[in-house]
């Protein structure tokens, strides 16, 4: 179990008073403080790490959030914001003396403006909920993390979530216009709005991906885009990872940027096929999902060019999706990949490093060697266009040595990513999982600089404690 700072003794001692105070801030069903019902809140999408919080509070308005933050600030209580609880880095892991601030009840869409191509939604609206609300008019919200069905926009903002289509459309940060935030003191601040590029410091950019360290996001103004006329996916299967990697380089080098370019290795192909029945090539070592969009003629033009490139790499098979259903099934397999691995292994750790794409074959080779050395299987899923690698390390959580091995293996993979010029996390966030690896990527000076920025927003370090930064004595407010 991961190291946690000691709970604040004064807060634990005043538990009953604090809980009673919180109870006055939300409707009756919005406060959970009994041990049995707190238990399911002890973890998120990374269930290997668990800690039951002091209380869970479920506000319904920004004003309630502000009142909660002001109260917790006054009482010196740590606050862990939580959306759908799908974080794969333990971004919503509570602490014993913390209050979990769940934003799931703030799930209303407040405004949709097609002429200005934006929508204002509360933090608890699911990622796909935005697209579903605007798709009848032919629009969509672009970032599409694999958990988009469940994950919430507030969490997307805090983790700067990506997705399979961010090669073309960018990550969350590139698709936001404004935020309504609540500061640690309980002030409500609007950042940005329906316009592009505010003057002054880029608060929007800094808050995006800040993992709940700086403020609580309660409302989000997102850009919505008009959907393309159509899209089609193609499956290209190869006899080796190296060959598939070289093919990716060749496609991008040719000047074509597909809207998505996804890579799966053999174990991943097999796990996902068992779930989605999408006709993935089970005889291949590596597979690319390549998607293009536009009119049918434009799709044909691009697919022809891509097919020509793929053919230079002696593919095991090439298949262009023939229908919307087929494309849907192809994506169902990819988007359900993490869970699908749950079919072949009781537990997995999902890594999220990014590497320069030119190092793909080398990195996969070394991961394979590490896998053999530690005796744990690994399935690799990779946003090939942008270098974001997701090795899924399979282990058995009921076997403590297996979990320990998986953690070590994962850390080694991330060190490797940094070594070849990449980074620890491309889209899942540092959370608690990669907190202690931050020193691999940053110097102490750099980490202290980041800590001082955190202190500028949250001098008392009450927001989402023990995430992102390696544990050490917290610096005084700047």
């Amino acid at each position: 179990m991961i190291a946690q700072p000691a709970p604040k003794r004064d807060v634990m001692a005043r538990r009953d008073i604090i809980v009673a105070g919180l109870g006055r801030l939300v409707p009756e069903t919005g406060l959970i403080a009994d041990p049995i019902r707190l238990k399911p809140y002890e973890t998120d999408g990374l269930s290997a790490y668990r800690q039951t919080p002091m209380a869970v509070i479920l506000p319904e308005t920004t004003e309630q959030v502000a009142a909660i933050m002001a109260f917790c600030h006054r009482e010196g209580v740590r606050v862990v914001p939580r959306g759908a609880g799908t974080s794969l880095s333990g971004g919503a892991l509570p602490m014993e003396d913390s209050v979990v601030l769940g934003l799931m009840r703030m799930n209303r869409i407040l405004e949709i403006d097609y002429a200005d191509r934006c929508a204002v939604v509360q933090a608890g609206v699911t990622n796909i909920g935005i697209t579903q609300a605007v798709q009848a008019e032919g629009f969509f919200y672009a970032p599409d993390p694999s958990s988009q069905l469940a994950c919430m926009i507030g969490g997307n903002v805090n983790m700067n979530s990506g997705g399979a289509h961010c090669l073309r459309y960018g990550v969350t940060a590139n698709n936001l216009l404004g935020l309504r935030i609540v500061t640690v003191e309980g002030d409500i601040i609007d950042i940005g709005g329906a316009h592009l590029d505010a003057a002054g410091y880029d608060w929007l950019g800094l808050l995006t991906g800040s993992e709940g360290q700086l403020a609580v996001v309660t409302e989000v103004t997102v850009r919505i885009l008009r959907s393309p006329e159509g899209a089609r996916a193609m499956l290209a299967a190869f006899s080796a990872n190296e060959i598939a990697g070289a093919c990716v380089d060749a496609i991008i080098g040719s000047g074509i940027i597909p809207v998505a370019l996804e890579f799966m290795d053999r174990p991943a192909i097999h796990a996902c096929e068992a779930f989605a029945h999408a006709g993935y090539p089970l005889d291949a070592e590596a597979m690319l999902i390549i998607e293009v969009e536009g009119s049918v003629a434009e799709q044909d033009y691009m697919l022809d060019r891509i097919r020509d490139i793929c053919n230079r790499f002696d593919p095991v098979s090439l298949r262009v999706s023939q229908s919307a259903e087929e494309s849907l099934a192809i994506w169902k397999g990819r988007k359900g990949a993490f869970g699908a691995v749950g079919r072949i292994s009781p537990d997995y750790l999902c890594m999220d490093g990014t590497i320069p794409t030119s190092r793909l074959a080398e990195v996969l080779g070394r991961i394979g060697a590490m896998s053999a050395a530690c005796g744990l299987q690994v399935a690799n899923i990779f946003h090939a266009g942008d270098g974001n690698l997701h090795p899924l390390i399979m282990f058995d959580a009921n076997d403590p040595t297996s979990f320990h091995k998986a953690e070590t293996f994962g850390a080694d993979i991330l060190r490797l990513c940094v070594e070849v010029g990449g980074c620890l996390t491309g889209e899942h966030g540092v959370g608690v999982e990669k907190r202690d690896l931050m020193g691999v990527q940053f110097t102490d000076i750099e980490l202290d600089q980041q800590r001082r920025v955190k202190s500028a927003f949250d001098p008392g370090w009450l927001l989402n404690p023990s995430k992102v930064f390696p544990l050490k004595p917290e610096p005084a407010a700047a």
Binding site: G200, G205, F457
Partner: protein, 401 residues
């Protein structure tokens, strides 16, 4: 003027300034010194000698260069591989009447983006990594050389657009993309601003990936050679893609916009010329012979662009044009406090920047919107977190800061 040739030199200079608590004006080639507030500092630290492209990997869409590398040099290097700078950054030298060439560091420090921003994001969206030196003289790197990176707080975004007030950028890594094979621009003539913005909204809301959406009144169009011959107000929608896609999409869009009139088509060369002029704001190029005017850049909810312009028409004699589908207004008017207040009032919840004005006006008024009290407090804390003694570009963005 201190012009270090590497990051260590920048560190030494800032350490010394930090110890002596003496302010430094920060610049590249100082091509945009007319932007924002004048900085009062005895010494100037220039990054102009930090030149050179240290990494360019076209198939990884990534380029790293020193902050003093000129934007033109970078553009040329990527063009040689068929790629381009995504946010279409402007060259504002003519706008400021400067003979200096803009640097990459200046482009990023000012977060300057051109017409393509409306579809493809701002400069800040494509800054993948920076190396910078903070006000303590410490080397800070953020981001990296990969396209997706959420490790730690995103200081790349914070530093982009911070005009050298938090740290001095010494090295920058940008995402680049394949340049389009072809461009085409549909032109609707004679629309009023409201109709024009409606047409542009329809174009931007179409499935044809419109990457430029501008409106110029006839007097402004007349100042751009590639548009002057149209002899009317022009509403422009650009498509950039593979040649067959441009042909197809411009035809489809022309049909969809039929309600707004018969659109003419500017070919590749004319498109390049017209959009370069809009990007570089050439209608408002500095004219030493004319009376000094002020120019504001106002970013608003696109559909409200025309009403902002209409409100200003009552206040003073304006010249203006719109980009970003109505969301970006370039406004020129008298360099007076009254005109400035009229612009800021009309902008409402939008954002504004006093882009060019005589020093007296720039020193006298806020040049960007003041922040709410709670945010201003955070801003002061953030400034102190990077530059506790306030030695980097003091007063550049906000007086006394």
């Amino acid at each position: 003027m201190i012009t270090p040739s590497d990051t260590d030199g920048v560190i030494d200079a800032i350490r010394a300034a930090h110890q002596a608590a003496t302010p430094l004006a920060i610049c590249g080639n100082a091509s945009k010194s007319g932007l924002l507030r004048p900085v009062r500092a005895e010494r100037t630290l220039s990054t102009s000698a930090l030149t050179g492209i240290s990494l360019y990997s076209p198939q990884e869409l990534i380029l790293t260069a020193g902050a003093g590398t000129t934007v033109a040099d970078v553009a040329e290097a990527v063009a040689a591989k068929g790629q381009h700078l995504i946010a279409e950054p402007p060259d504002l030298s003519a706008f400021y009447g400067s003979t200096a060439t803009p640097t990459l560091g200046g482009m990023v420090a000012a977060n300057l983006s051109g017409p393509r921003r409306v579809m493809w994001g701002a400069t800040r969206d494509h800054v993948m990594g920076v190396v910078a030196v903070n006000g303590l003289g410490e080397r800070i790197h953020s981001g990296g050389r990969v396209l997706k990176n959420v490790t730690g707080l995103d200081l790349c975004k914070l530093l982009t657009g911070s005009h050298g007030t938090l740290a001095v950028l010494t090295e920058i890594t940008l995402k680049v993309l394949p340049a389009p094979e072809r461009r085409g621009t549909l032109v609707l003539k004679g629309l009023d601003p409201t109709r024009a913005v409606a047409a542009l909204a329809q174009a931007l809301g179409s499935p044809y990936a419109v990457s430029g959406a501008a409106y110029l009144p006839a007097a402004m169009a007349a100042r751009i050679p590639a548009l002057a011959w149209l002899d009317d107000s022009v509403t422009l929608a650009r498509i950039e893609d593979f040649a067959p896609a441009v042909a197809y999409r411009t035809e489809r869009l022309r049909a969809e916009l039929a309600n707004f009139g018969a659109a003419e088509l500017l070919d590749d060369a004319a498109s390049l010329a017209a959009w370069a002029a809009i990007r570089d704001v050439t209608p408002f190029a500095a004219d030493p012979a004319a009376a000094p005017a002020a120019v504001w850049r106002v970013s608003v909810r696109p559909s409200t662009g025309p009403s902002v312009i209409a409100a200003l028409a009552h206040a003073f004699d304006t010249q203006w044009f719109m980009d970003w589908g109505g969301g970006l207004l370039w406004i020129a008017g008298p360099a007076t406090q009254a005109a400035h207040h009229a612009v800021t009032a009309a902008a409402g919840p939008g954002a504004w920047t006093l882009m060019r004005a005589p020093e007296t006006l720039r020193a006298a008024v806020p040049v960007i919107p003041p922040e709410a009290a709670a945010l201003a407090r955070i801003a002061r804390n953030v400034k102190a977190a990077f530059d506790p003694k306030g030695i980097l570009n003091p007063g550049r963005m906000v007086a006394g800061f």
